[in-house]
């Protein structure tokens, strides 16, 4: 008995000792972040997912990058110019060193583009889209790169703003598996790789020799916490100093605890998309349940449904104010958006009249499909729209399923009208993907699953996209957007807000509309 007791006490003492060791105060210069971004790989070219781009941007850098207004800023390239229709020259920054001490130069850029173009195979092929238009990359001198494109590509700098530059290896290309071991992580970025547990943590340390000056934090730890409630709890308990993707409903509580909250309207939108390609649609019937010809082909029906959609309700009640009612793909004010496109308040009577004019005085029935739990407010939005459209005489059966089930069914043609989303570096990418006519050759309409076709808009957008990046191009894109939105091929619903919250260790935090979470956005407080 006595022996047992002693053993127990020993165990207790050991437990206490461990306990004390684990609650050592963190150093003032350490930033601890709770992120929803589940970093899946350390290969910077593996997949174009926000999580990879945000977290790996600590280690790796790009030639140029997008600031908070989505304008391009010099990164590893100090300047760039278009030599001819198909030729671009990038001047590289001097005295930049990789984290292993070797110098950065034109060779590394060439190596990176070649790795993406020729070495990586699916499923790690996401970045190929950005390098597809590149015919050749040459180093004309150690700090100058000339890129030759297939045809005119005015947005080449924007495309390159996604690509992380790796150090060139004489031995050949690094495989994803090699990089995932972590030992080879070698970029020019402000933070160095320390350790990584897939789906759990990423630890970084300051790169003392960073070309841009000493980075603010000595150590950065990302803890991957997917549950929003758990992220909030970790922040409130001061286990972390910064947490991203705070649910709107938790903002009040977080503020009450003396934490600060920042938010920004995301450079993206969620919208309803119609199937316009088929003669008859699944589960679209008259009120007696008989199939009817595709009603969405009539623009009056699409307009009527848009009129009967209370987007302000979605923004105010479903997203609790942390969303902006939408009438186009990006929030008003960002480059390429139109000031004339503003969401209309719902008018059910007018919608009813328009439906009657289109030959549906009694309305009709449909199923509205969407994901649940993928985007803020997705499942609730379907039900709220069902309530809205009922007032215009449309019977709606909302169908919310897990995202991959939804996408499988959508690809299988099981839906007539559905909830979808689009994001990208610039608004014309969404216009081009979602509402331009599907055409593999021209690379348009990749997300136009409803098969909407509008030749006048296709021309206007294609023309606008040949213009050099600048106000003229933005205006032309905005005009094309106005043209296509008058036809209502989709009903934009909302731009949800990215919300982050932080504690006392962080003095200020700059939100990025693309939703990235990085230590560079956080300024340490003096304490």
């Amino acid at each position: 008995m006595g022996k047992k007791l002693r053993m127990g006490m020993l165990a207790a003492a050991a437990a206490l000792g461990l306990c004390a060791a684990s609650v050592l105060p963190s150093t003032a210069q350490e930033l601890r972040v709770a992120t929803s971004y589940k970093l899946l790989t350390l290969d910077p070219h593996y997949a174009v997912l926000n999580e990879n781009i945000a977290l790996l941007s600590h280690i790796y850098e790009r030639l140029l990058y997008q600031d908070e207004a989505l304008n391009l800023k010099p990164g590893l390239a100090t300047s760039w110019k278009r030599l001819s229709e198909t030729q671009w020259e990038f001047k590289l920054r001097e005295n930049v060193r990789f984290q292993d001490g070797s110098a950065f130069g034109a060779e590394d850029v060439v190596y990176t583009i070649k790795r993406i173009q020729g070495f990586l195979k699916p499923p790690s092929g996401g970045f190929q889209a950005y390098a597809k238009s590149i015919k050749s990359v040459t180093a004309s001198d150690p700090l100058t790169v000339v890129v030759e494109t297939d045809g005119s590509v005015p947005t080449l700098p924007l495309q390159l703003s996604n690509i992380f530059i790796m150090h060139h290896e004489a031995a050949g290309f690094r495989t994803t598996e090699e990089l995932n071991s972590g030992a080879l992580a070698n970029g020019t970025g402000p933070y160095k790789f320390d350790s990584w547990q897939s789906g759990e943590t990423l630890k970084l340390t300051r790169n003392e020799d960073y070309w841009g000056g000493k980075p603010s934090w000595s150590e950065v730890t990302f803890r991957i916490i997917e549950s929003p409630a758990a992220r909030v709890a970790a922040l409130v308990a001061q286990d972390v100093d910064l947490a991203d993707f705070i649910p709107a409903r938790d903002v009040e509580g977080v503020k009450k605890r003396g934490l600060k909250v920042e938010s920004v309207s995301a450079a993206r939108s969620n919208f309803l998309q119609f199937d316009l390609g088929r003669e008859e649609l699944p589960e679209v019937t008259d009120k007696d349940g008989n199939p009817i010809p595709n009603p969405f082909r009539d623009v009056r029906v699409r307009r009527a449904l848009a009129m009967a959609t209370d987007r302000q309700f979605l923004a105010d009640k479903i997203l609790l104010g942390y969303g902006t009612a939408a009438a186009q793909f990006f929030p008003n004010g960002l480059p390429g958006t139109s000031a004339n496109l503003v969401p209309e308040p719902p008018d059910y009577e007018k919608a009813k009249a328009l439906l009657a004019e289109a030959g549906y005085p009694n309305g009709f029935n449909l199923s509205l499909a969407g994901s649940s739990g993928r985007y803020p407010g997705d499942g609730e939005t379907l039900q709220a729209i069902a309530q809205n459209w009922a007032r215009a005489g449309i019977g709606v059966k909302p169908v919310a399923v897990p995202f991959s089930v939804f996408e499988t069914n959508r690809a299988g043609g099981k839906y007539a009208v559905w909830y979808a989303g689009c994001s990208g570096e610039a608004v014309d990418i969404c216009l081009n993907a979602v509402v331009a006519s599907p055409d593999k050759e021209r690379g348009t309409g990749a997300l136009n699953y409803g098969n909407y076709r509008n030749p006048a808009f296709d021309d206007a957008l294609a023309k606008a996209r040949t213009i050099e990046v600048g106000p003229e191009r933005d205006a032309a894109i905005a005009r094309a957007a106005e043209l296509v939105m008058a036809d209502q091929p989709v009903i934009p619903l909302y731009h949800f807000h990215h919300i982050s919250a932080y504690g006392g260790k962080v003095a200020s935090y700059t939100m990025h509309p693309r939703g990235w979470t990085t230590a560079m956005q956080a300024v340490p407080s003096d304490k």
């Binding site: 209370d310 009640k317 609730e380 309530q387």
Partner: protein, 288 residues
């Protein structure tokens, strides 16, 4: 004779509080359209801008939101009444069909014996050796969401328990002398099964019924809570609790609290009635 056995087994409704409560539940579910101020399935009766109203506030419909509204403006009290219907219909139909299938399978196994017995009982053993939750999860993932699928999943989960009991009883009956007499008289097998074996197996199955219905309600609620159950526009009690969970942290407790309370009351009253039923069958009162 069998009739008397069953009569003795049934609880005296006037004596049991839980029986009264359960009856109220069933009546409320049946009369839901008459009792509920709002039809939560009719979008035209819902005022979205009144979402998340606290209990007791008065809405544009001219009636009081006795228990508040949910995140989409649906009256919680009405939602509970309608959700009750779904919970009851799903669990009752699932359990009763499972009981019929289980009884038939169990009796068939006992009567025919040999390989039929082996196959059926191996299947039963397989299933009973796994947690019901796990079987239900696999079933619902394979079948997909929807009310009919949930009922099917409940049948898959529950038939085995009935089959095992029925086989046990039927097996003890086949050993009795009247069965020998029956086979000497060359009575057709359907007569033996329907006149003797099935009726004798029904009584013990009835003791199992309330317990299994209680389980079925809880299981349906759990699956719906996990987002694998009934469709979103026609919530059962379980999915109402689930949709309220996300509002819990902001203090809007009523969205999940009241439907959960109703669910708890329902399961508890069924379990108490089940206790009564069992006590009448098993006068020693020592069973679990």
């Amino acid at each position: 004779m069998i009739g008397m056995k069953i009569k003795r087994a049934l609880p005296h409704p006037a004596l049991s509080v839980s029986g009264i409560i359960l009856t109220c539940y069933v009546l409320a579910a049946v009369a839901a359209p008459l009792l509920a101020p709002q039809n939560p399935y009719d979008p035209l009766q819902i005022f979205g801008w009144e979402a998340s109203s606290p209990p007791g506030s008065t809405g544009s419909g001219g009636y009081r939101y006795l228990l508040g509204t949910d995140g989409l403006g649906r009256d919680i009290a009405s939602g509970i009444l309608y959700g009750l219907r779904i919970s009851l219909v799903v669990s009752l139909s699932g359990t009763i069909i499972a009981a019929v299938i289980g009884l038939s399978a169990g009796v068939a196994a006992a009567y025919f014996g040999k390989w039929i017995d082996i196959i059926i009982m191996r299947l039963v053993d397989l299933q009973l050796s796994l947690p019901t939750m796990l079987v239900a999860l696999i079933a619902i993932v394979s079948l997909g969401p929807g009310i009919d699928r949930i009922i099917l999943a409940l049948i898959i989960v529950q038939w085995a328990a009935f089959a095992r009991i029925a086989r046990g009883v039927a097996l003890s009956e086949t050993g009795k002398s009247y069965m020998d007499a029956a086979s000497l008289l060359r009575l057709p097998s359907y007569r033996v099964i329907f006149r003797h074996l099935l009726p004798n197996s029904i009584a013990p199955a009835i003791t199992l019924l309330p317990v299994e219905i209680g389980h079925a309600i809880a299981l349906e609620a759990t699956l719906s809570f996990l987002g694998l159950g009934v469709p979103i526009d026609k919530p059962s009690l379980g999915s109402m609790v689930a949709s309220g969970f996300q509002y819990l942290l902001t203090g809007q407790y009523w969205i999940s609290f009241f439907p959960g309370l109703a669910l708890f009351g329902l399961i508890a009253s069924i379990n108490f009635v089940g206790e009564d039923v069992r006590r009448r069958f098993d006068p020693r009162g020592s069973s679990l």
